[in-house]
């Protein structure tokens, strides 16, 4: 989806930052948006790094990066909207939740996993938070097999270990709700 042409530089003459995905595709984003990605922010926090430098993000695919940028762009806009006014704050919060829900709804399981890895790599706290919740929703009350398939995990228990764990769960203890 995204490519160079989609990111019009703001007229204010604000700086833009170039981000490069794993396949070499370059995204030009406004500085404010780029700074949402803590990893990118750390990159530039260092002395002597000019903003013209292309930031290589080798662990992020271009599809994921495009979505991340799209989300961060909207998030920055919404944050600018909310100020002291409680009503405006509330509205902005609802819009943001709507944005998150939309992003999550369209994604396949693979897509969500890719996004969460990207958000972790790029260190975007808010995005990580709702993505974790989304993953949680997808595996909530699902069977052991389903969870293994979702995360592509192998059952590394030996039969004895598995038997022992099952027994423990049945006989040895019981979780108690915290007060």
């Amino acid at each position: 989806m995204a490519n160079n042409g989609e990111n019009p530089s703001p007229d204010v003459g604000g700086k833009t930052v170039k981000l490069k995905a794993d396949d070499g595709e370059i995204f030009e984003v406004e500085e404010a948006v780029a700074m949402e990605l803590q990893t990118v922010k750390s990159f530039f926090d260092d002395d002597g790094v000019s903003y013209d430098t292309v930031v290589p993000l080798l662990n992020v695919s271009s599809t994921a990066l495009a979505k991340v940028i799209q989300y961060c762009r909207r998030a920055v806009e919404l944050r600018a909207k909310s100020g002291d006014d409680e009503g405006a704050n509330e509205k902005a919060r609802e819009e943001r939740e709507g944005l998150e829900a939309e992003l999550v709804r369209e994604e396949s399981d693979e897509g969500i996993k890719e996004l969460i890895l990207a958000a972790n790599y790029l260190n975007i706290k808010d995005m990580l938070s709702f993505l974790c919740r989304a993953v949680g929703d997808r595996i909530k009350n699902k069977s052991v097999e389903y969870v293994r398939r979702f995360f592509v995990l192998e059952n590394d228990f030996s039969p004895e270990e598995e038997e022992r764990t099952r027994n423990e769960v049945a006989w040895a203890f019981e979780g108690v709700d915290a007060d």
């Binding site: 490069k20 794993d22 070499g24 803590q38 990893t39 990118v40 750390s42 990159f43 530039f44 260092d46 002597g48 790094v49 430098t53 930031v55 290589p56 080798l58 662990n59 996993k113 890719e114 969460i116 890895l117 972790n120 790599y121 260190n123 990580l128 938070s129 974790c132 919740r133 993953v135 949680g136 595996i139 909530k140 009350n141 699902k142 069977s143 052991v144 969870v147 293994r148 995360f151 592509v152 995990l153 192998e154 059952n155 590394d156 228990f157 270990e161 598995e162 764990t165 099952r166 423990e168 769960v169 006989w171 040895a172 203890f173 019981e174 979780g175 108690v176 709700d177 915290a178 007060d179």
Partner: protein
């Protein structure tokens, strides 16, 4: 993108890096050894904790992408994110999640904070600590019994429940037959203490002071403790629990076990646990001296519950030494105080706000009178299912001049007149609750009483209800007596 990289001289072990943010610029622009270490470290952060060896330290490819299989990138999720996801899942999913794989067993276990043990071997073998490294609340009571696994018989009391086999002893010494030996319990406590440094709440039965000392030594944050089958000797270990705030001692439970907590134990307790805020004494002996010691030493004591006591006459007067006591509860007491002593020595709990009586026998006028004198300052008075509370007895409550809230439930001897004669004299009364008191009749409400009711902040007047049926059962015929209950099918 490629760049030339200086090979590291020798693969030095990466420093612990949990706190270090990776410096990209260092990585890419500055050609020094330092960024490589950081890169290695940064890569290592993404690795799952399972021991899959990846040779990232030895060789560098041209592009420093982590050498991880493309097919399952989600294993790159660090622990803290997985813990975040897992913590949002319902508790019912904890056990299935533990069976997904070893890493998940570990992660899921790290989220568990409270546990009730059933099988002592699970603790003794160390398995409990291996699986649940972050426990703060542990209830060992059920685990301290030899219990047949498949028993369908649960013998339950308010403070203790145990599964028993069908061949249990005829002499009703259930606990003595099936409690684990003291040495075993102590050893288990030692194991637990060594692995739960952050323990905050513990319940155990049949321990000795040695077991208690080992817990006190290691678990400095222990705040809440429940000791069942407790006696004076065990309490010698309690002084070492310096941060204890909530304590429940159970000495005697009829039909289960019988141990003696006397003045000696109470005094040791008083001198050792000066930070006590909440204390519950069940089935304990003792007398005025023990209660006085607690009052004088435990200056922060705010809540005291006395259940089924066996204390000597005259103990009530000791309560007036509890200067900060705000809540007092008597539960299941067969008698209040057989010989309370002269009025001038009774005193009064100065800070008392709430006094609750549940399932107590209030048949002796002298002791009930003394009781109300000691609790004269109370603002909230609650009677629930007490025997012997007739008009005469209740009139003694007139001593309490500052009552603002009164609750009567299951007091079947009291009449409207008896109630009125007391509450009309209580100038501060603002809220009243009367439930299931069958001798209080609506028809007997005098005009002055109804005037009083009209000024109350809160009034719950249901003297006729025998029990409150949940709305889901209304109409099913449940709760009706006799032939109406059994319908013809």
């Amino acid at each position: 993108m490629s760049f030339s990289v200086e090979k590291p001289g020798s693969p030095s072990p990466p420093p612990s890096v949990k706190k270090r943010t990776p410096r990209w610029s260092e990585l890419w622009l500055k050609n020094s050894k330092k960024p490589l270490k950081n890169h290695v470290v940064f890569t290592m952060q993404l690795q799952p904790p399972t021991p899959t060896p990846t040779p990232t330290t030895k060789k560098f490819s041209q592009t420093p992408t982590p050498n991880l299989p493309k097919s399952d990138p989600i294993t790159l999720l660090p622990d803290h994110l997985l813990l975040n996801i897992l913590s949002k899942l319902p508790d019912s999913q904890r056990n299935p999640n533990s069976l997904v794989c070893k890493r998940w067993l570990n992660l899921q276990g790290r989220l568990v904070r409270s546990l009730r043990l059933f099988d002592w071997q699970f603790l003794h073998s160390g398995r409990l600590l291996f699986r649940f490294p972050n426990l703060t609340h542990v209830d060992l009571v059920s685990g301290c019994f030899f219990s047949p696994r498949n028993s369908g018989i649960l013998l339950s009391h308010r403070v203790v429940s145990v599964h028993i086999g069908s061949g249990f002893s005829k002499s009703w010494k259930v606990c003595e037959d099936s409690l684990l030996p003291v040495e075993v319990v102590d050893r288990g406590l030692e194991v637990l203490a060594s692995g739960c440094p952050n323990l905050r709440k513990l319940a155990v039965i049949g321990a000795s002071e040695l077991g208690l000392l080992s817990v006190a030594d290691e678990c400095l944050t222990l705040q809440e403790l429940e000791l069942q089958n407790c006696n004076d000797d065990v309490l010698r270990g309690i002084a070492a629990c310096t941060n204890l705030q909530v304590l429940r001692l159970v000495g005697n439970v009829d039909g289960f076990y019988s141990s003696v907590v006397s003045d000696i134990g109470l005094t040791i307790l008083a001198q050792g646990c000066k930070r006590l805020v909440k204390l519950e004494l069940c089935g304990c002996e003792g007398s005025f001296d023990g209660i006085k010691a607690i009052g004088q030493c435990c200056l922060m004591l705010e809540e005291l519950t006395i259940r089924d006591h066996r204390m000597d006459g005259g103990w009530l007067a000791g309560l007036s030494y509890c200067e900060n006591l705000k809540t007092l509860r008597f539960q299941s007491c067969r008698e209040i105080d057989p010989s309370p002593g002269p009025d001038e020595f009774l005193g009064c709990c100065p800070a008392l706000e709430r006094f609750h009586l549940q399932k107590c026998q209030l048949r002796d006028k002298k002791s009930v009178r003394a009781m109300f004198m000691v609790c004269g300052a109370v603002r909230e008075l609650v009677f629930q299912d007490c025997w012997g509370l007739d008009n005469d007895m209740f009139s003694l409550a007139g001593t309490c001049r500052r009552v603002e809230f009164l609750s009567l439930e299951g007091c079947s001897l009291l009449t409207t007149e008896g109630l009125a004669s007391v509450i009309l004299s209580w100038k501060e009364l603002q809220s009243l609750r009367v439930v299931s008191c069958k001798n209080i009749k609506d028809s007997e409400i005098s005009p002055s009483l109804s005037t009083l009711f009209s000024v109350f902040k809160e009034l719950k007047w249901r003297p006729n209800t025998k029990s409150l049926l949940p709305s889901s059962l209304v109409g099913t015929g449940m709760g009706k007596k006799g032939s109406k209950f059994f319908k013809r099918m």
